[in-house]
Symmetry: C2
Subunit: 124 residues, 2 copies
Amino acid sequence: MNALQTAQKYTPGLHVICDLSSHNTGATSDAQLFQQKMNELLFRLQLQKLGEVYHQFENAGFTAVVCLTDSHISVHTWPEFGKVTFDVFLSNFRGVNDTKAQLIADELLNYFEAVEVSRTELKR
Amino acid sequence: MNALQTAQKYTPGLHVICDLSSHNTGATSDAQLFQQKMNELLFRLQLQKLGEVYHQFENAGFTAVVCLTDSHISVHTWPEFGKVTFDVFLSNFRGVNDTKAQLIADELLNYFEAVEVSRTELKR
């Protein structure tokens, strides 16, 4: 296989994108609590962080972006609207991670006690 | 309008997701150069950073995740495959940002001299 064929065959990975409603204001308001959850999850799945940004908005929600060797996870919460959006993109550069991406999405939906979920899976 | 109606009406924003091929290995390999481009763009569009992660892989591509008050931008490059994936998600919390999200995507496609573009726009 030549370089061009390899490039054409390379498919970066699976991107799972979820929008949901949540009535769990504890989960949607507390960046620090969420950071613990995320760290446990990444440790369990043996995913390696390159860096992260957690930002707690005052009397409101939070934004979390975790940069991984295998792409990224982002979470944005709006407890005042009972809304959360997140996306999990894991690349297949070091092995097929599709199942891990789906598992992280499932765990996050569970964490926020999600209702009215809109879930999109993009094979990139 | 009651709180529930407000929650149902709140639509977080536009997520522009692009996968592309690029033959410009200078652009796809150099995290620092890309960071300059991104900073100029954010300044021009008056978007406020909460934090950022730029990671230069050795003799390879880079990963950049920029966390904004209005959500996030992520970029992953694989110069060895001539591939780039990026996504731009801007929330409408402080005003409708759909045009800005599209403009950033256009600028990034131009920066990487993108060919074979797959572009998805998700209204979240």
